[in-house]
């Protein structure tokens, strides 16, 4: 199944891309996607735990099972205000 992955701020700099479509096995959860990305992006691999995720623009736990067409973003520490 395909999901759209978005990268922002320091994560975009680290990944060298701002979005991509990825093909994942059916039933993959957010944690599985993170593990894939951490194998490619050294900054992600260095983090002590998976970054907070948003699925379809909602804060979502790492156990969230992804659906085809989902929009997933891992969020660097937010710094608004």
């Amino acid at each position: 199944m395909r999901v759209k992955v978005l990268y922002f701020a320091s994560f975009r700099d680290a990944a060298g891309r701002d979005e991509e479509v990825r093909d994942l096995p059916e039933g993959s959860d957010v944690a599985a996607l993170w593990r894939e990305l951490a194998a490619e992006v050294p900054l992600f691999a260095r983090l002590p735990r998976p970054a907070p995720a948003a699925v379809n623009r909602e804060h979502s736990p790492a156990t969230t099972v992804l659906q085809p067409g989902d929009e997933v973003a891992f969020l660097p520490p937010v710094a608004g205000g």
Binding site: S10, A54, R57, H59, P77, G80, G81
Partner: protein, 139 residues
């Protein structure tokens, strides 16, 4: 709409909330000239736009539950801002000041916790870095 790329117009914000209720509390966050001992020339704010909008709408909904007498208007700017420019403005209007102060404080605290907005500081030596408030350092 909670996000804008234009300078925040405080006079327009005050006209919008029309404080005839008794108390209006206005919080304005401005770009500071230093952070952790380093001078800052400017900050670039970046948002996950659609999610930032829905998170700020959620915060506004939560505030109207927690402070039923208060009306709150939030606006957050993105893009490159110079020192002294307003990055965020919150107007809370209420019959009494205690609720207006509390709602305004709660609004900015919640914004800083859940809304997907990031900022990159630009320094006089030409370097820049993303601010990481969780570790008291930059990532």
């Amino acid at each position: 709409m909670y996000l804008t790329t234009s300078p925040i117009d405080l006079a327009a914000l005050l006209r919008e909330v029309r404080a005839s209720d008794g108390a209006l509390c206005l919080f304005v966050g401005v770009v500071r000239n230093e952070n952790a001992g380093r001078r800052t020339l400017a900050i670039e704010y970046e948002a996950y736009g659609a999610m930032a909008e829905s998170e700020m709408a959620r915060i506004a909904d939560g505030l109207s539950r927690d402070f039923p007498a208060v009306r709150v208007r939030i606006i957050h700017r993105t893009g490159r801002l110079e020192v002294g420019e307003a990055s965020v403005a919150i107007a809370a209007v209420s019959p009494h000041r205690a609720d207006a102060f509390a709602a305004c404080r709660a609004a900015i605290d919640r914004i800083k916790t859940t809304v997907p907005i990031w900022k990159k500081e630009f320094h006089p030596d030409g370097t820049s870095d993303w601010v990481d408030p969780t570790e008291g350092r930059r990532s």
